[in-house]
Amino acid sequence: MTASELQAEVRERDGVPVIDLTGDVDAQAERALNDAYARATAAGTDAVVLNFERADYINSTGIALIVGLLAQARTSGIEVKAYGLSDHYREIFEITRLADFMTITDKE
């Protein structure tokens, strides 16, 4: 298990921007995550989807980044959805109550 800096790609599915996260959601991920969110919401949207299928490590700093992203989304009235979390990280999203503020599904 080696550290790999987060890659965040934006694509669209049925008119909704999807951010595909690959790598580690930690302190080094801040720029990639925020840039991707800015790109995804630039054209105006009601919702953003985060794909965690290939994010294999999320730590407390990464959670803080997602909190920041959620706060931005709330201000602009954008709904945040997430999918592809492992059971372990889904549990962490529940413990931290992130799950209460975003719609979490298993699959896209």
């Binding site: 490590y57 730590n59 706060a71 209460d100």
Partner: protein, 539 residues
């Protein structure tokens, strides 16, 4: 370059490649040939002929050559007419010398071309043959050195006590491992006539053969003095005065000398600049200090004498600097604090030696080359309560340090995962433990150690029948962790709390128990998972 300092032996052969045409008086005279073949011409290193041959690109007419050269005169006297230097890679490795043609005609330009071509091919072949011969000679020399070194090693081993005295109520153990075949460390345990026992650990500057020679001299003088004198300070004074006149420059010996009265537990000691021994008592581990200069530097030195009393359960560790000065792959030093901590962790005697060696190997890595000689002598007074014995503390599954650098918590997760592989943790519990380890390691690196390169994070994994414990220790002086604010997501989303601050919260949720203890110079977060009979006890 070597050609200039090497004298050349040049075989003179009258019978050259042109010896096909008829006969001549000289060639037909076997005695003359024999005499010439046995009379090589030496070219001295300063002879100008050497430089001339080295730079000559073609066959040289000896008669036409005018040089103030003794070798040239000899060649002329011997009747050499033509010389073809054999040069390989710019180095003169020989000369092909020819007498007059048997036909008594001069050498033709065809002859010369043929000879030059021959020389061009012969020179590299000759060089290869020379190299092979040199290598064989070197191998033979090396083998002889190795044999001698092995004998030296055996002799030196005989200098160490073959067995340690059996003292009722005391456990004595010793360990010695030189970094090379022979070493500069030594130890000795000498029973004295009145029932007391002298303990010695010493270290000669430098390693290898020079150190070993000084070591054997020191050891002999020490033994001789110990037999006649009792006071440790006086013994060191005497040994110093004996060694000084004959000590090679820039060499000296550090040495700790102690005399134990086994009946009372009194240990009188003096120290000639050696690493301070540790004594472990009911109240903790302390150094035994006594002032004194290393041996062999200056005659007429005095050595301070001190005394310690060893109670039942107390133990002493005498050691050499090969332990504390060992490095990890990141070039961090093992250091005195770590050795002290290793001693504090359990019993003395042979167990202590094993524990130090185990910690040392975990620190340097299993395949690290030993940098310096390692020597330990331990003595422990039996009885007393066993404090923090290995069994009550659990088995150490892993004990390692990680440098404080962003991202290194991933290594901590992986190493802990490997260490607990045999416990059979459920996948969910393992994932939770890994997250807790990562968060505790990040806290230690960032808040305790401030990502400083000289402050590693120490992680120890312990397993007892009912608990798996992971201790993550930093080197900070932050004291107790400030009571962390319970993270409130709603407050964070509304900007009333910072987005960060999830670390401790996660740690507490991920394991059965989490404890923080602060000591001077380090804070430990202990993560506990409950086990049942050493196995996972998760829900």
């Amino acid at each position: 370059m070597t050609a200039l300092t090497r004298s050349f032996r040049l075989k003179l052969k009258r019978r050259g490649p042109a010896a096909d045409a008829g006969t001549s008086i000289e060639v037909a005279h076997p005695e003359a040939i024999g005499a010439l073949e046995q009379a090589p011409v030496e070219i001295g290193p300063n002879d100008p002929l050497l430089a001339y041959f080295q730079s000559a690109s073609e066959a040289v007419d000896i008669d036409a050559l005018e040089l103030d050269s003794p070798a040239l005169r000899e060649l002329k006297e011997a009747g050499v007419k033509l010389a073809i230097p054999l040069v390989s890679q710019g180095e003169l490795i020989g000369v092909l010398n020819l007498g007059p043609r048997l036909s008594e005609q001069d050498y033709s330009s065809d002859d010369r071309r043929l000879l030059e071509k021959l020389a061009g091919q012969a020179a590299p072949a000759l060089r290869v043959a020379q190299l092979v011969r040199e290598q064989k000679a070197e191998a033979a020399t090396r083998q002889r050195f190795e044999q001698e070194l092995e004998v030296a090693r055996l002799i030196q081993q005989n200098f160490l006590p073959r067995e340690l005295p059996d003292l009722p109520g005391w456990q004595i153990a010793a360990y010695y491992r030189p970094a090379r075949e022979v070493g500069g460390d030594f130890y000795d345990v000498i029973p004295l006539p009145d029932g007391r026992v002298a303990f010695v650990v010493g270290d000669v500057t430098d390693k290898g053969v020079p150190a070993a020679l000084v070591m054997s001299a020191t050891r002999s003088v020490l033994r001789a003095s110990a037999g006649r004198l009792i006071e440790p300070g006086v013994v060191l004074e005497r040994v110093n005065d004996h060694l000084c006149p004959d000590m090679p420059e820039k060499m000296f010996v550090t040495c700790l000398y102690g005399v134990l009265n086994p009946a009372t537990g009194h240990l009188r000691f003096a120290n000639a600049g050696h690493d301070l021994p540790y004594v472990k008592t009911a109240t903790g581990v302390v150094e035994l200090r006594a002032r004194g200069m290393p041996l062999g530097l200056m005659p007429g030195m005095a050595y301070e004498e001190k005394e310690a009393v060893l109670e039942p359960g107390d133990s002493v560790l005498l050691h050499s600097d090969g332990i504390v000065e060992a490095h990890d792959p990141q070039r961090g030093m093992f250091g005195f604090p770590r050795l002290k901590e290793t001693m504090a962790r359990g019993a003395g005697g042979q167990e202590l030696i094993d524990r130090v060696l185990g910690d040392l190997e975990a620190f340097t890595g299993p395949d690290a080359e030993q940098e310096d000689d390692i020597t330990m002598v331990t003595l422990e007074r039996s009885g007393g309560q066993t404090r923090m014995s290995g069994s009550s503390n659990g088995t150490v599954l892993a004990d390692f340090d990680l440098p404080s650098a962003p991202g290194n918590e991933r290594q901590a997760m992986e190493l802990v995962e490997r260490a607990v592989a045999g416990i059979g943790l459920q996948a969910t519990r393992l994932e939770r433990l890994k997250t807790a380890v990562a968060e505790a390691t990040m806290n230690a690196m960032e808040h305790g150690n401030e990502y400083r390169s000289d402050r590693p994070v120490s992680i120890r994994v312990l397993r007892s029948p009912d608990r798996l414990r992971v201790q993550v220790t930093d080197r900070g002086d932050a004291g107790e962790l400030a009571e962390a604010e319970e993270p409130d997501l709603e407050a964070k989303l509304e900007g009333r709390q910072k987005p960060r601050g999830w670390g401790l919260f996660l740690i507490e949720k991920m394991v059965d128990e989490a404890r923080v203890t602060a000591e001077r110079g380090g804070r430990t977060v202990e993560l506990v998972l409950r086990l049942e009979g050493g196995r996972d006890d998760g829900e």
